[in-house]
Symmetry: C3
Subunit: 211 residues, 3 copies
Amino acid sequence: MPEPEFATPLVVLDLTGIFFFAVAGALVAVRRNLDLFAALVLGGVTGLGGGMIRDVLIGATPPAALADWRYLLVPVVAGLLTFAFHGAVGRLERVVTLFDAFGLALFCVTGALKAVEYGLGPLPAALLGMVTGIGGGMIRDVLAGSVPVIFEGVLYATPALAGALVAVLLDRADLPFAVVATGGFATCLGWRLLALVRGWRAPLPKGPANV
Amino acid sequence: MPEPEFATPLVVLDLTGIFFFAVAGALVAVRRNLDLFAALVLGGVTGLGGGMIRDVLIGATPPAALADWRYLLVPVVAGLLTFAFHGAVGRLERVVTLFDAFGLALFCVTGALKAVEYGLGPLPAALLGMVTGIGGGMIRDVLAGSVPVIFEGVLYATPALAGALVAVLLDRADLPFAVVATGGFATCLGWRLLALVRGWRAPLPKGPANV
Amino acid sequence: MPEPEFATPLVVLDLTGIFFFAVAGALVAVRRNLDLFAALVLGGVTGLGGGMIRDVLIGATPPAALADWRYLLVPVVAGLLTFAFHGAVGRLERVVTLFDAFGLALFCVTGALKAVEYGLGPLPAALLGMVTGIGGGMIRDVLAGSVPVIFEGVLYATPALAGALVAVLLDRADLPFAVVATGGFATCLGWRLLALVRGWRAPLPKGPANV
């Protein structure tokens, strides 16, 4: 399999996903009244952090995001636009959430397949696909001083893990790349959108916790 | 020295340590009323995070935990059990703390020896042994939104550093593996249990801080 | 270019920068009434964390700080001194801030040049120079339970990025090392000191955020 990050049509998809992740990240900075630098860092970390964790863990250093200037430029542009026009961007949040789901579905698949390419087994590869999708947002939330939002019932990681697992299994069945990618992508996106529309939540602990 | 992680008797010990670390991690999630996914992540991070930091720093990628499915399965099982039966598990906390001390003593030794194997000097190797033991819990606390508990007087890191240092020094003296491992393990476990029983605490700053 | 970290004059500068970073880090621990271990960890992380992130990202493992015992000793000494004499150190905070600016200017340059040496392009190399300067302090703040101070208007990262960028560009122009280093160093230090003296701040978002 060729490096998926650098094939032209996939790069456009990839950069689009990063752009919307970065917008969501920069919005967090603005809403906590953090400065421009924070908007750029939280945007960049949200857009690129998951892939960087994956690349460091599989030994693919320097990470793809540091080897191609477009991957650095896109979150900077997203951060600047969000910082400048945060009022308008904030009102478009439903759109941002939609595109964010698209980015999640994309990253869980490309992340898992990259891990497979580096020789990881199906279970770790699926896990790293999920990490590619959710890792950036988790670092963002920690840097912004809060518990990751996906720890409090938001159904976000499970669709990413499911999409990654479907992609890995289809890939092991030696199906063509288009089938592998579409299967994983549709699984994650469908589940995530259903969760958004129907208000599905992850289970919370039952009964009082013995503190 | 062979890969200590994959020799059968050591693997059983290792997985036992990871299991109890993961139980302690998942309990933190339940007590903050976080969701099932958080219990799995905090369990996994507590059990595997320290070893992952060590492996990334010494260049042993992908980390051992991503190369053997048992290392992923154990924290998942621990997290699910803790989430489902958190009342019972919480009442057994003294048992969890005991086994956690056992895990700490084990990880500081295996972590330090792995660093030695990768060519690090005695001081950095001992430090990485300590990181293997305490790193996962520190990430867990940060993800759960609090200052690491071992920053507030809990005597936990010092025994780990001492155990790692003893193991590294005995290893340099070319003693047999059983002596090396037992010496480091007993140092850490003994100190940690004494600290628990006698209520020893790490020193806090004296006098008012000029804020 | 030889390894800049191990040439004698640069090592002394480097260790001096790490010392003052570590003092600033340990002060944070004391002011939150954290224990001695926290002072050592926050000191060590502030002094060495940025370089470690850089080294892990460019694949230079084990990081330089784990290959030379002096790099471990210096933050330990800084942490112990700060913990013991925090009253006096706290009153000298203006001096610490001055030396911290010196460390920032040094690390952004050495960090960027090391990234260039490992084959990164100008933009990622400059970014990693900035990360070398600011990364340790960011981890420190997160571990201490707060949002990084450089997210709330402190003008700290921009001078580091500027200094790193100047060094990278001068290096690409094949100028002698002394010119490259001095140019980057002076850019960062001058900007940072002006920001301190004149009270310059990074821009905050305008208008109310749609929460």
